[in-house]
Symmetry: C2
Subunit: 684 residues, 2 copies
């Protein structure tokens, strides 16, 4: 076999044929069956065998929901720029992905160069100076697409535009807008967001940084009174940021007014750190090494009085503290509002990443074979194994359902008003936690479904696990967020009880109707009905909310404080938050499926049933609290298996509807034999 | 605040006090309560508050099981050598861990230098030339400890000693032993193990590499007939290995004799690749970048006739094929035997890694506080939250139970004989899959329990997720292994039915007794009894085995082949394999607890109940198949919460019993405020 790198594909094919026939020649006359029956594997593109029964563009429009053209434009920009590391692998196929074999320092350098490129192409035009619902949706769409390339890239952008920028927009007033927004949009000012400290993450209220006011110089003096008060994880602080939002306790005339936000310049035009600051690096992480997370100590660091972001509260030149919001708790809540945009973005991106992993794993499962059922048969395609279908296909249904819910969340976010802040907080918390956990689960399952290939960085799935792991704890720990969801539901419950009024909002209206009754022995078609699916999800939520309220009440009757009672009832709180989130998603999915038509509707109905039944199978609550009989639970399990074989023929069309360009997938999603051929590989 | 790097700890303390008192001074006369109530966080070592009620050395002996001195010796060697990157972080504390910010190429270089160091210190003396049960156990103990430092290091050692070396020992005869074992032990010969191909991983029988015999030259000619036949993932092949075991189909006179193993030299003394070979790199991975995985193509590559590893079968000089084992299936199984040692090592190491992560996360949870229950109270220690206890403490019980089972597996392995090969295969498969899945779960939970700190490479937990992810698919995909366990149990069942004989072996004797009956309403003390725990685990296993056999039989009655029937029954197969594994572990744990005395026995009984009840809570099978009533299931859940608060006071002592040196833990396991202080950090 001539293995020289210059040989063409056709030469290789004929050489291969020659080798085989030589071996077969040696075997001739002895009739070795096993030799004849083990021909070399050849690659068949999944498109050659899989049928498409619906319009994949239509489904893409439904799942992406908006701004498909803007998405494709950003994808093309990244595909065509050498900074995005295009690499030829197998024939004429080119893939883009960061080089994760680079050091932390190199990855940071590449990240900022990619931002500069996108900036020059106008991607961020209007991101801070523009306004309007359409522009915000378009911004979110492009942000999703950039995130498919690299998490570091969007986290660095997110800190700058969605935390720094939004803080100026939301907490600042005209003087801040005029001074900072334009230059920030042009990335001449590079902002960061110094909230978290070494000693306080989720509990922002407990931060220890202290600001006092110096009337003589009309400046605030900011100090880190101790090591635990050092600002920590501040994205951009270690290397590139010029400015930061500083969260600090504000002490005026010895009275603590709680947490406030200030603008501080941390580097001069030459990149030198400003006086009275110390900055250190957070060091190497398991992902996001393209983000320069840093730590900041303030040592009598002074900022002008005008740098207090004063939309909520202000300090007058004479040192008097004034606030439009008298209640310190409400004031504090107002300062956390930008974190909501962070949670929305995280939730949305988690779903997109899951779709990318599924597209890769499903395509590989349609081209990779392993084991024969008997010695005369070819090896079986991975995705033809019932167990492999069970691993991947329910994840597709969840990804589709979550896409629809994510689009709904974005709409609530861009149309936000003071009236919707509670529901925005609840949905963004519930979805952020649920979608990021689901993303980690999806990535792990897809990685294992690809075997060792899932571990190769070039195949993307594995590396995404490290890159996106942070999502479950940043911008609010998932467990804490889910507890907040349950606490909010508990408040709704108590309020409805006290006022003796019906439930209104958050989809809780079903609590006003009689409790649904689930028949003991359901048929397959009953299990696939909207009625059953909706009823059993509502039943679970209602029952868990009542149980939760009752358990908290019992603990309080035993003399525990409300806070302690809630902490002790964490098991039911977790169950309830899950029930609420899944019921909400199901109802959004039901609506979307209703409005579909034709062959797409049939497939969406399969996905809806798959979503509903897999949620039932995975949550022991249904059995534990008797929402389902044993025979119904067994029937659900059987039905999931049937649904897997029903969805199996649509698997390729479904992942092709995710709208992810081929170049953002990976070699194992296409001809992985060719991509691994000697001529496609580097010689040592 | 003077932040100069030269200041001493006492100076820092007094500066801190000065800053605080200055702020308090400003506040005086205004009586700001919130300022007084938020003093800076100070670190208290957990030892200062936590009590130790039992002898931690005694528990360490029980969990490590053997060769504690050899373990400590290897730990010291690594701690004291600069190649292991000792780093001072916080006061006088030094930590050792690889530098994962190094490129793949640098990590490979460090790995081989570390091996050379351990070699020179005599760590590997006797690993290939010695024999005996004690030596083998000592070897396994040292291997576990080296694995705590770095996964790349033991995988590279494992390929050389446990795959290459064991293949020579097991498949080779005197001529191979004499020629290769001594030089391999001295690492003059560096071996690798070329089994897996691009097209065939778990299905070794399907590999496409072909060997034929040339009588004239008395050589085998080895060829990769096509791209999918390239050897893939071959650890050591890309850079360092001089020799390899080659797995290949053997064709003699045109008859295929199935898979055989040959020795081939792949590099000369100067490191040049031998003629008729091509080698390429597998590239960057999400972990194990210190291992040079490579790909090999054979192009009429010739090895002398004597290089066939001929303990099982041989080719005589005249070209005649002779074999002691007539059945090709048995011959094939014999060739896979070294993989068993791989599975034993993987299982054992997974538990050790879990223990390291738990030690870090528990110590952090005992020193980190978040949120106050009311404004007058200090923030709550993470491990005092019921939900945090529920996340971590059951994982301790599982790690302890699995340690005991792992020690049992090692004993079966080192005393192996042809008679025990079946049980060794079953237990090593079941434990490898169960322990590695549990390890990934433990690492994820511990990472999230440490918040963002869990993502910092220096804190180890996060990076271990990427490093150990491979364990769930290498040396046999976990799902495939668990299916094999169930298939083996099915064979036992069918055989007992056919012969009308009682069950014997694999702990299945309980199937011969009457089916246990679980009372419908169990008390707390009943739930904690050995009787209940044993009964309900046996009941589940028995029921699932009968259901599985029945479902497979029904599919066969419908005309499906046995293989197809087994594939379709994957849900019950998964449930059954889990039930078998957990029952086996419980019984080993019960025996160990029975033999303990004094205060340790009390703690071990808590752990046993925790292990049993958490397995029940986590497996929906108990409810789904009616092994437990709803009220018992609810009682189990309540009892898990009680057990968490019972185990909580022992948490520190338990993780301190794991015997892991402080230097192998991480900064957040100790004074993380000091470790993050400016003076402990690098200035930018």
């Amino acid at each position: 076999m001539d293995l020289s790198a210059s040989s063409s594909a056709s030469e290789r094919v004929s050489r291969r044929a020659a080798i085989i026939s030589r071996h077969l020649g040696e075997a001739s006359g002895f009739g070795s069956p096993s030799l004849v029956l083990t021909p070399c594997i050849s690659f068949l593109p999944p498109e050659s065998s899989e049928k498409v029964s619906f319009d994949t563009r239509e489904l893409r429009l439904l799942l992406d929901g908006h701004d498909v053209e803007a998405r494709d434009w950003v994808f093309r920009l990244m595909e065509e720029c050498s900074l995005f590391c295009p690499r030829r692998r197998g024939g004429n196929r080119v893939f883009v992905a960061p080089d994760y074999n680079q050091s932390m320092e190199q990855q940071r350098e590449m990240t900022i160069r990619r931002i500069q490129f996108l900036l020059e192409r106008g991607v961020f035009d209007g991101w801070l100076t523009g306004s309007g619902v359409d522009l915000e949706m378009r911004k979110l769409a492009m942000y999703e697409c950039i995130g498919l390339y690299d998490h570091s890239l969007i986290v660095k952008l997110g800190v700058h535009f969605f935390l720094w920028g939004a803080a100026i927009q939301f907490f600042g007033t005209k003087r801040h807008h005029d001074k900072f927004l334009r230059e920030s949009e042009n990335y001449l000012i590079k902002g960061c967001f110094a909230m978290t400290e070494l000693g306080h993450g989720s509990n922002v209220r407990g931060i220890e940084t202290i600001a006092t006011f110096d009337k003589n110089t009309q400046e605030f003096i900011i100090n880190s009174p101790c090591e635990s008060a050092q600002k920590y994880w501040i994205g951009g602080a270690a290397k590139h940021a010029t400015h930061t939002i500083i969260f600090s306790q504000l002490h005026i005339n010895g009275t603590s007014q709680g947490v406030h936000a200030f603008i501080g310049q941390i580097r001069d035009a030459n990149g030198n750190i400003m006086p009275n600051l110390r900055i250190a690096d957070c060091g190497h992480k398991i992902g996001l090494n393209g983000v320069d997370n840093g730590r900041i100590w303030f040592d009598n660091f002074r900022v002008p009085r005008e740098n207090l972001l004063n939309s909520v509260a202000d300090v007058l030149p004479d040192g008097q503290y004034v606030s439009a919001i008298k209640d310190p708790d409400q004031r504090f809540a107002a300062f956390l509002a930008p974190l909501t945009s962070g949670r929305v973005n995280i939730a949305v991106n988690a779903v997109y990443i899951s779709k990318m992993a599924l597209a890769i794993a499903v395509r590989y499962g349609l081209t990779r074979r392993a084991f024969s059922l008997s010695s005369n048969e070819p090896e079986v395609l991975l995705l033809d194994y019932p167990s492999h279908q069970r691993r991947l296909l329910p994840l597709i249904a969840k990804a589709c359902a979550m896409s629809i819910a994510a689009n709904n969340l974005k709409k609530i976010y861009v149309k936000r008003s003071p009236d919707t802040s509670k529901i925005l907080h609840i949905y963004s918390s519930a979805y952020k936690a649920t979608f990021t956990w689901q993303n980690m689960k999806t990535l792990q399952e897809c990685r294992e479904a690809c075997g060792g290939q899932g571990l190769k960085t070039e195949n993307r799935i594995g590396i995404l696990k490290g890159e996106f792991d942070v999502q479950s704890t940043f911008e609010g720990d998932n467990n804490v967020l889910m507890q907040q969801v349950s606490k909010a539901l508990l408040s709704e419950y108590i309020s409805a009880q006290k006022k003796n009024q019906p439930f209104k909002g958050l989809g809780l209206e079903h609590m006003n109707s009689p409790c649904p009754v689930i028949p003991a022995n359901l048929t397959s078609s009953a299990l696939r009905s909207i009625e059953f699916q909706n009823d059993v999800f509502c039943l679970r939520e209602r029952d868990l909310l009542i149980r939760y309220a009752s358990e908290v009440y019992q603990y309080q009757q035993q003399g525990k404080s409300r806070e302690t009672a809630v902490l002790l009832s964490y098991q039911l709180a977790e169950d309830l938050a899950r029930a609420f989130t899944e019921r909400t998603i199901l109802q959004l999915l039901v609506e979307k499926v209703k409005s579909a038509t034709g062959p797409l509707k049939d497939v969406l109905e399969l996905l809806r049933s798959m979503y509903a039944l897999i949620c039932i199978e995975e949550d022991a609550s249904f059995l534990r609290y008797g929402h389902l009989s044993l025979s119904n639970a067994a029937a659900v399990r059987k039905e999931v298996m049937k649904l897997c074989s029903n969805v199996r023929p649509h698997a390729l069309a479904l992942v092709n509807s995710f709208g992810i360009p081929d170049s953002f997938l990976s070699p194992i999603a296409f001809d992985w034999i060719e991509a691994n051929s000697w001529t496609s590989s580097n010689s040592l």
